[in-house]
Symmetry: C2
DNA sequence: TTCGTAAAGTTGGGACTCCAAGTGTTCTTC
DNA sequence: GAAGAACACTTGGAGTCCCAACTTTACGAA
């Protein structure tokens, strides 16, 4: 504001303005580090830092060997939360999200619960849980990583003894039919730096933080399933709608 | 993993492990840039980058002229979401949060709605809304910044004609008593880099991203109030509990 | 015309240096 | 003993240079 702001901020603000007003449309290449140093009369450090900040904001994306580009508009991710909906809705909703072609891959395997999951599911650390890892893609781009853990005795195998079924969508519905009703969902949301595995799976550029949703489905005082949903903060917005009943 | 990871990651992982296992307890000073370069045999760039990453993760905090220190344990921020609760609960809940002494300052003033708020409240840009800005503190430390906007004709003035009342807590309850019932809350959650004003108000160290919750209270198809809640991603966790009814 | 290679450009990690502004501590002066 | 000045140290911003890995483009040979 005053005039003696850090130099890199000048670069950030200029580029941000150009992206905002369309001078740099989605997909357009950002001037390279070398070009920025010349154009703005700043050092490489400032130019690089400016690019990193814009990348962290999700406005641009860096591709090694190629350059930085203005990002496409972020996709809206509606996560309906209603009393009567299928509680697997996040995935169903993804499919329709904004007319994008959405796919998800998943893989289940039995693992030891471990400390954190045991705490969340009220199990022993040594107990076996079914871990399922989803990678959700829209238009081929990885967008969301979800990992869910279910107690083995409640797990997929019981409801889908036939191996390999793409049965995720109606698992909770079948549980419900079997008399197990979800009565509460508890979530904890926070931001953090992605772990290497997550960066790999989500193809994350550096500097992008993720939104981490820890979700546990409860049936009365018995936890049924817990999951970790990791969403790149720059790509998605989680939209909750919580109808409060009549 | 392999062994040819970036150098700075070695420093990050070592320090992170020491913080995790208590070798570096909360409040403890982190070795300075100069010390890290010597101890890990790395350049200043790597040492500095490692510190920046840990700061962004919220594990440490940098104080100019003094040093980096291990952060205190992050505070749990329960945000109850029940059918029958006072929907001002976030603030009420803050007060009890984890036995911390919590306070909040607020200030209301009439302002023009502007584009974004007009969209969210279905108003004209030129319409007047009541803007209220809260700074929430636990133990003196600023923790949360909330800004709410209400249509002027539904605003505080109507329900609290007596000026200066600390009437925030029961505003929505009084509205409810007056026959205006909240039937739905819609939220949009995303992460982003804090704006300068937010960094000032929240006393944010560099590199800490914020969680931004856009919340709108609806009564049928009429929006009552919209608010922006900005929470430093490293300090807080938003915990939602969404009971689904009988 | 096609294919493969070489050259040029770009990012991301890293080393080294300098400086302004702020903090702590010590030491001197009153 | 108290007050203030000087000094050492730390962070954060900035500059410069170097390199590996990767992409894009251009060019020449088959």
């Amino acid at each position: 504001m005053t005039g003696n702001d850090p130099v890199y901020l000048r670069v950030v603000e200029e580029l941000r303005a150009q992206i905002a007003d369309g001078t740099l449309p989605p997909g357009a290449p950002i001037p390279s580090r070398a070009q920025l140093t010349q154009r703005f009369r700043v050092g490489e450090t400032a130019a690089r830092h400016a690019l990193r900040v814009l990348a962290a904001e999700g406005l641009i994306i860096g591709k090694v060997g190629s350059g930085h580009y203005v990002r496409e508009k972020s996709v809206l991710y509606p996560l309906q939360r209603c009393r009567n909906i299928d509680h697997d809705a996040p995935f169903a909703a993804d499919m329709q999200a904004g007319g994008h072609r959405a796919t998800w891959d998943w893989r289940s395997e039995p693992v030891k619960a471990g400390r954190e999951i045991a705490r969340r599911l009220r199990l022993d650390e040594a107990d076996t849980v079914i871990r399922t890892r989803y990678v959700f893609r829209t238009d081929g781009k990885p967008m969301q990583l979800a990992t869910s853990y279910e107690p083995a005795e409640l797990g997929r195998a019981q409801f889908f003894p036939e191996e390999g079924t793409n049965g995720r969508k109606s698992l909770l519905a079948r549980m419900s039919a079997a008399g197990i009703k979800i009565t509460d969902i508890r979530e904890s949301v926070h931001t953090r730096v992605p772990e290497p595995a997550e960066s790999d799976l989500l193809d994350l550029p550096t500097g992008v933080h993720v939104l981490h949703v820890e979700r546990t489905h409860w049936s009365g005082d018995r936890p049924l399933e817990t999951s970790d949903i990791v969403v790149p903060g720059d790509r998605f917005r989680l939209v909750y709608s919580v109808p409060l009943g009549a």
